[in-house]
């Protein structure tokens, strides 16, 4: 072996560029945010006044903050309990179609390559109380117009549906890739043994794609915790803050109000909450489904 490769210094030199980038673009900003969160910085001033944990106390005592946390929880539940099952079902269906598979794949993937602004406007038309597609359809069955984005009863679910529509296709492609990677022999053997299509899907395919489903859940949870753009485009957190999530709460109550110290504390809380949820998920659920051997 080359002498250079035996020296630890060589390895340190190899990892140094990546480590510097990691420090500069991840660790340093986090520490800066933590530092700023302990101040009453207005986002512009060159001086900062340290106020300890006051920003965190303010957030914890604010009902509007907890309402925004609740909306993030809605996002997570909707992702895990509605979106993920739909992703799996559609993936199984598309994997088993004999014709036009490419068309289906393209069709479901399309929304995820569209910009959130376009999707917001598109669904804004669909939800329009006067001429929107949804109310037109419901009108056929005699349902009174629903004010989807104006009524706080409906605004959150409207956003959740739109968000799910945008990202479901992306995850379907991931799960579909996992399904198509399963050796055909397994499915054929089960079919020869007399297993029905449903049984093969539930007993063979589903257990084998659990690692990727687990990743999809993880990504959905992380996405749900940092959701902001779709809300800003569709409702701006309204009506009256009813669709605010933590990120939009941060924009409304901190950034636009020259309270960057407070904004940083909310950003840290988003980070901490997301870490807790993902670590818990990893430890309690994901670890069990990590390895699949054919």
């Amino acid at each position: 072996m080359n002498k250079a490769l035996k020296s630890p210094l060589t390895y340190i030199l190899f990892i140094l560029p990546a480590f510097i980038l990691f420090l500069g673009f991840f660790i340093y900003p986090i520490f800066t945010a933590v530092n700023n969160s302990l101040t009453s910085w207005n986002g512009i001033s060159k001086t900062m006044t340290y106020i300890g944990l006051d920003n965190y106390v303010t957030a914890f005592n604010d009902i509007a903050f907890w309402k925004s946390v609740r909306n993030n929880v809605y996002f997570i539940f909707f992702s895990c309990l509605v979106q993920v099952p739909l992703i799996v079902i559609f993936s199984l269906l598309i994997a088993n179609v004999k014709r036009l598979k490419g068309l289906y794949k393209t069709a479901v993937f399309m929304p995820s390559i569209m910009s959130t602004a376009v999707i917001g406007i598109l669904w804004g038309f669909i939800y329009n109380p006067d001429f929107g597609l949804l109310n037109e359809l419901l009108g056929v069955f005699g349902v009174e117009p629903i004010y989807w984005l104006s009524d706080k009863k409906w605004a959150m679910i409207s956003i959740l549906i739109t968000n799910a529509w945008q990202w479901t296709g992306f995850y379907i492609i991931m799960v579909l890739a996992a399904i198509l990677a399963i050796p055909k022999e397994l499915d054929e053997a089960a079919a020869i043994d007399g297993a029905t299509g449903f049984q093969r899907a539930v007993k063979i395919t589903l257990p084998l794609i659990m690692p990727i489903v687990s990743v999809v859940i993880m990504l959905s949870v992380a996405g749900a915790m940092k959701a902001a753009d779709i809300i800003l485009v569709m409702t701006k957190g309204g009506p009256a803050g009813s669709t605010d999530v933590m990120a939009t709460y941060m924009i409304r109550y901190a950034i636009t109000s020259f309270r960057h110290g407070f904004g940083n504390s909310i950003a840290i809380l988003i980070f901490v909450f997301t870490m807790i949820i993902t670590v818990l998920y990893q430890v309690l659920i994901a670890k069990r489904t990590e390895r699949i051997e054919y």
Binding site: G43, I44, P129, Y147, P239, S242, F258
Partner: protein, 460 residues
Amino acid sequence: MKKKSLLLLMSLIFVASAVVTGCGKNNNTEKESAPTTEPAKTNNAAEVKVNDEPFEITIRHTQVGEAKKFRLAMLEDVVKQTEAAVPGLKIKLDAVDSEVNRKEKLRGEMAAGKPPEVFDVFGSPDAALYAKEGLMLDLTSILNDLGIKEKFNTLAPFTYEDKIYGLPIGGSIEGYFYNKEYFEQKGLKVPTTIAELEQVAEAIKADGKIPFAQSSKDAWIPLMTTNNLWSYYAGADITYGFKTGATKWTDPNVVKAVAKHEEWVEKGYYKKGELGFEYADMRNQVITGEAIMMMDGSWANSVFRDPAQAGDMVGKIGYFNMPPVNAGDPIIVMQDANNGYGFSSAVAEDPRKLQAVTEFIKNMWTDEMQLRGLKEDGVLPAMKISLDQMKATSDDALMQDIFKAVSEIGTSFPAFDALVQAEVNTALSMGIQQVIGGEFDAAKMLENVQAAQEAANATK
């Protein structure tokens, strides 16, 4: 082995040269920044060479969309004049939506200490905050040199510690645009009291139309109505006292004013579901004839005078001030000049950029441009121009209505967001949406706003 060493050596030289190049100073930039009028060192001392090496400044503007096309055309003309007057100058126009610029982009740039050389800015409270941090150019001496300092109606929103840090592009008032043709057909008259306004609204509602167009997705829109109402019920001066603690949002007269707005919502004077509507939607309600009246800033006249936007409704829209509570009382109206341009303090370090900015100010703030803004864009002048001159400039019926409204003003006040802290504005914005949505009544909403006000007042 030798080959490897050579390769390593060459790689080292390449990397080292790249690093040295990257870290090196660009002396050309320094050359470019040399004063324009400074004589170039030539053999002939009498020969003075003007520095015409290319340099660039950026103007961040918010003239985005169809409604602002006239204002953009004016800006482009000023840019051409300025470029022609300053050798080597290239002006880059950077268009950004007004709200995005005010609340996100400009703030981010200010935080980084690198705003564009020229930028759209709101006077109070934004400009004062930026000026306090030394991020805005002090224009006082430039205005004195140009002799235009005393020509403005007011520079108060852009003044911080007796120095001027920005210039308003135009003025505005808030009042009701209304469907004149409909009023004539139905025999309705421009109301002279709030009670008459309500009678008109009732008549319109009974006719199956929407009395007031309103889009409350952005809370500043309904707050125009609320602000004018509380200035009538509690007096125009009350807003000045919130920041000092001299007055309170829970004042019974403010509660009465917000309750009046709440009452109008409950009576169905606004379209159902308007909490989710965008700003453009309420104008469309008037243009399509669905709604008859609309509280908006005088700037909205450009929409109703443009056939491309207002279609058949051009010439059918009029304007009146919100009437007082009692007949004969003075008309109290929001009137200010809080939006304009500010300049980066970094400009002072570069004489050529300073010259470009001075030239820009010289070309932009003239009587001619103010009157052109009035004629083409319907923006009231920020500079002192007589009412007669204004009337002579635009013979448009809607503009004449607005001039009449200006002449009727007894007391004017700046918009509330120029007088209270940003966090109070946030609380008020949330509050008015909660009132419109039926979540809180006026009293409860104002208690919350007062709590936000006290918290903001306690923070220095």
